[in-house]
C-alpha cells in the first residue's frame, strides 16, 4: 500500500446534460455530498485551490461513471502540509427521491500517503427536498482511526425562475473533533463546466475555488 495513488478524489457531480451547478460532491466547494452519482458513461475532471491561513493547496480528481449509478475516481490532495494524499473512491446511488422518500447513496474511500497505513472511510448519504427547490443532504462519516462524524448540507438554486445557473450551498457538521460551518456557491459557466467557491470554518478558516468539467 506504500504506492497508494498520489491522487485524491474530491468532488464529482453531474446529471442530465452535463456537470451542473445543482449537483454536489465533497470539496466542490463544501465537504458534503449529495446522494447521486455522475451519469453512466460520464468522465469528469475536477480541480481546485484551497487557501488555509497562508498555505495554498491544490487538489484534482478524475472520475468515471462506469455503470449506472456507480462511479469510481482517483485523485490527489496536496492540501495538507507537505504530505500529498492520494485517494481512490467508489460511489453508488442506491435510490433516487421518490415522492416523499429521500435519495440514498454511499461512498467508500481509501486514501493515504507513501509510508503510512491507508485510511479507509465510509460515507452514508441521504438527500431530501426541504421545500420546493431547496434540499438538505445528510452525510454520516465513518473513518478508520477517527470518531464518526456528520454533515448537514443545504442547497438552494438562486435566481429561479429567471436564471438557472447557480446554486447556493451551506453546511454545518462535526467531523474529526471539529465543528464545521461553511457556505458557498456553484455556478455553471458553460454546458460542461462549473465554477465553485466556498468558505469554511473548522479548525481554521479555509477558502476554496474550484472547477469541474464533464466530458
Amino acid at each position: 500500500m506504500k504506492l497508494l495513488p498520489t491522487l485524491c478524489l474530491l468532488a464529482i457531480a453531474s446529471k442530465s446534460l452535463a456537470s451542473d451547478h445543482n449537483n454536489f460532491e465533497r470539496g466542490r466547494p463544501l465537504l458534503f455530498d449529495d446522494a447521486y452519482s455522475i451519469a453512466y458513461g460520464e468522465r469528469e475532471f475536477q480541480t481546485g485551490f484551497s487557501l488555509t491561513g497562508n498555505h495554498l493547496g491544490l487538489n484534482s480528481s478524475l472520475g468515471y461513471g462506469f455503470a449506472k449509478n456507480q462511479e469510481i475516481s482517483i485523485g490527489f490532495d496536496a492540501n495538507r502540509g507537505s504530505n500529498t494524499i492520494g485517494e481512490v473512491s467508489f460511489f453508488q446511488n442506491l435510490a433516487r427521491e421518490i415522492n416523499d422518500s429521500p435519495a440514498f447513496g454511499f461512498r467508500v474511500t481509501a486514501n493515504g500517503t507513501g509510508g503510512q497505513r491507508p485510511i479507509g472511510s465510509l460515507r452514508l448519504i441521504a438527500t431530501k427536498a426541504l421545500h420546493q427547490y431547496d434540499k438538505i443532504h445528510l452525510n454520516l462519516d465513518f473513518e478508520s482511526r477517527q470518531e464518526p462524524g456528520f454533515l448537514v448540507g443545504y442547497s438552494a438554486p438562486i435566481g429561479y425562475p429567471k436564471s438557472f445557473d447557480q446554486t447556493f450551498v451551506a453546511e454545518v457538521g462535526y467531523r474529526q473533533k471539529q465543528a464545521i460551518v461553511g457556505i458557498g456557491m456553484r455556478r455553471q459557466i458553460d454546458p460542461r463546466s462549473v465554477l465553485d467557491f466556498g468558505i469554511e470554518s473548522g479548525k481554521t478558516l479555509q477558502l476554496t475555488f474550484g472547477y469541474t468539467i464533464a466530458f
Binding site: L17, S37, R96, I98, P161, K162, F164, P191
Partner: protein
C-alpha cells in the same frame, strides 16, 4: 368477430375508459435508482453553441416544459394560462445562454415521475447530439450521417429508448383523457407545440447544409419561431418531424418517428396531469402506461408497415414518408397538414406530379411555418412567390454533395449560399419539370448538362436575379385534395364586410 365490430369495440374502449396496466411492463419503470445516462462522448458535443441564437432558443424550451410540469404537480394548474404562462414567456424572451438542468426546475415532478424523466432525458440527449453532429465543422456529410446512425444505435441500446417505428397518432391521441390539456390551456399548449416546431424544423436547416450556411437560415426560422409559432393556438395537432423536416425524415425515418413518438408522449403526459378526477397514484400509473406504449421494447420485432390498423401496433405510414405514422383521417396517399390542408406527400406540393424516386431532383420550400417538397427549382420559386413572407429553398444541384440554400426577403428577392449558381429553366410540361428546371453550382456544370442533353443546347443560363424574377404561376396540373379538416376545426373567416 367481424373486423368492423372488433374495431368499434376497440375504439369505444379506447375513448371511454382509462387504459389498463399491461402485464408485460418493463421492470425498470419501477427502479428506485437514478440511472442517469451521459451523452456519447465526441468532439462535436455542444457545437450547437456555434449558433448562439438557436442554442438559446433550444435551451429555453427545456425551461418551459419543466416549469409547466412543476406547476401542474404543485397545485399550480389553475394558473397555468396566466402566471405560469407569463413566467415561461419571460424566459422565452430572456433565454438562458446555457443548457438548464430541468430536474432542478421541476424537482417535485421529478420525484413523482422519475421514470418519465429517464425517457425524456435520454431522448433529449439524442435530439441535441443529432444537432451537434450536423453543426460540427470539418466533417463531410457522409461522416455526419454515419455518426447520426451510430447515435441512433447508441440511443436504442438503452431500455428508455422510444420506438423508431411510425405509430398511429390518432390512436395515441385517442384516450379518455386525450385533448384535455390543450383545450383547457391553449396558450401553454401553444408554447409546447411551438417548441416541437423548433425541435423538428431545425433538422432540415442543418442536414447536409454546410456549417457556414446554417446561420443565415436561422435568422428567418428563429424570427418565425419567436414571433409566431410559439403563440399559435390554432394548430389542429402537434408539428410532426416529417412535416417540418422532410429531407431529414426521409434519411433518418427512425429518428424522425421517435421524435414524434416522444412529443406524443409529452402530450399524453400533459393530458394525464390535467385530469383533476384522477388520484396521484392513478396519474402515475397512467404515465407509466403512456411510456410503455412508445417504448422500443414494446414494439420489438415489429417493422414499419406492420399494421393492426388504428391500434398500438399500427406502424403504417403515408406513402413516401416512412418516418411518420398515420394521422387522424389519413390514408397511405394523403394526410392533413397544418397550414396546408390535405396533401399527398408523394407528390410535388406545387404541381401535384409525383416526386421522383431517385435524385438529384427538386427541393423543399419553407415558408409561413411549413416545409413542403417540390419537384424542381421552378416549382420551389413559384410556390415561394405565391406565399406571403420570407422563404427558404433547399435544392439539389448537379453535385450531390452541394445543397443549394436560397433565402428570400419579404419581396421575394433571393440570396444564395453558392455565389456562382446558375439556373436552367426551359419552361415546358410539368411532368418533366425536374429535367428542364435545375440549379448548377457553376457555369461549367450547366454547360456539361446542356451538352449531355441536346434538347437544352440553345438555352441560356440564368443568374439568380433573373431567375428570381420569373414566375409561371400555379400550374394547371395542381390538384388540391378537397376533403374536410379531420380535426373538425374550421376556419370561420375573419368577419364580414358590413
Amino acid at each position: 368477430m367481424p373486423f368492423a365490430i372488433a374495431f368499434a369495440l376497440i375504439t369505444l374502449t379506447q375513448s371511454s375508459q382509462l387504459p389498463v396496466m399491461p402485464p408485460n411492463m418493463p421492470s425498470w419503470l419501477n427502479n428506485s435508482t437514478a440511472d442517469t445516462l451521459f451523452y456519447k462522448p465526441a468532439s462535436y458535443n455542444w457545437d450547437i453553441n456555434r449558433m448562439p441564437a438557436f442554442a438559446k432558443d433550444m435551451y429555453a424550451t427545456g425551461v418551459g416544459h419543466a416549469m409547466a410540469y412543476e406547476a401542474m404537480v404543485t397545485g399550480g394548474a389553475p394558473e397555468l394560462e396566466t402566471k405560469t404562462f407569463n413566467i415561461i414567456d419571460w424566459v422565452l424572451k430572456h433565454q438562458p445562454t446555457k443548457p438548464v438542468d430541468e430536474g432542478a426546475i421541476s424537482p417535485t415532478f421529478m420525484r413523482k415521475y422519475g421514470s418519465l424523466e429517464k425517457v425524456f432525458d435520454w431522448a433529449h440527449l439524442l435530439h441535441f447530439q443529432v444537432i451537434d453532429v450536423f453543426m460540427h465543422p470539418g466533417w463531410t456529410d457522409s461522416q455526419k450521417e454515419a455518426e447520426v446512425d451510430r447515435l441512433w444505435k447508441n440511443y436504442s441500446s438503452q431500455p428508455y429508448a422510444i420506438s423508431g417505428l411510425p405509430m398511429n397518432m390518432e390512436f395515441l391521441d385517442g384516450f379518455s383523457y386525450s385533448g384535455k390539456f390543450r383545450k383547457e390551456n391553449p396558450k401553454v399548449n401553444g408554447l409546447f407545440w411551438g417548441y416541437h416546431w423548433l425541435q423538428t424544423v431545425n433538422h432540415d436547416m442543418l442536414y447536409r447544409v454546410p456549417v457556414q450556411d446554417q446561420v443565415a437560415q436561422y435568422a428567418l426560422i428563429g424570427n418565425r419561431y419567436r414571433e409566431t409559432e410559439l403563440y399559435r393556438i390554432d394548430r389542429d395537432f402537434m408539428p410532426m418531424t416529417a412535416e417540418m423536416s422532410p429531407r431529414f425524415a426521409k434519411r433518418f425515418p427512425q429518428i424522425a418517428a421517435s421524435f414524434d413518438n416522444l412529443h406524443m408522449l409529452h402530450d399524453n403526459v400533459n393530458d394525464i396531469l390535467a385530469q383533476s378526477n384522477l388520484s396521484e397514484s392513478q396519474k402515475q400509473d397512467q404515465v407509466k402506461i403512456a411510456i410503455y406504449r412508445v417504448l422500443d421494447s414494446t414494439h420489438k420485432d415489429e417493422d414499419p408497415g406492420d399494421a393492426v390498423p388504428k391500434s398500438l401496433h399500427d406502424h403504417r405510414h403515408p406513402f413516401g414518408i416512412p418516418g411518420m405514422g398515420m394521422m387522424k383521417g389519413s390514408d397511405e396517399d394523403s394526410m392533413f397538414m397544418a397550414g396546408m390542408g390535405w396533401m399527398d406527400m408523394s407528390k410535388c406540393s406545387h404541381c401535384s406530379i409525383s416526386l421522383p424516386d431517385s435524385g438529384p431532383w427538386g427541393a423543399t420550400v419553407s415558408a409561413e411555418g411549413w416545409t413542403m417538397s417540390v419537384r424542381c427549382l421552378m416549382c420551389a420559386r413559384d410556390m415561394s412567390a405565391e406565399t406571403p413572407g420570407r422563404a427558404i429553398i433547399r435544392a439539389s444541384t448537379e453535385d450531390p454533395n452541394r445543397l443549394l440554400v436560397l433565402i428570400s426577403d419579404e419581396e421575394g428577392n433571393w440570396t444564395s449560399n453558392i455565389k456562382e449558381v446558375v439556373f436552367l429553366e426551359n419552361y415546358g410540361d410539368h411532368p418533366e419539370c425536374n429535367d428542364w428546371s435545375r440549379a448548377f453550382t457553376s457555369r461549367a456544370a450547366f454547360d456539361k448538362y446542356t451538352k449531355a442533353n441536346p434538347e437544352f443546347k440553345d438555352v441560356k443560363p440564368l443568374n439568380l436575379t433573373d431567375w428570381g424574377k420569373l414566375n409561371h404561376g400555379k400550374p394547371v396540373t395542381y390538384r388540391k385534395i378537397d376533403k374536410p379538416n379531420p380535426y373538425g376545426m374550421k376556419m370561420e373567416g375573419h368577419g364580414g364586410g358590413k
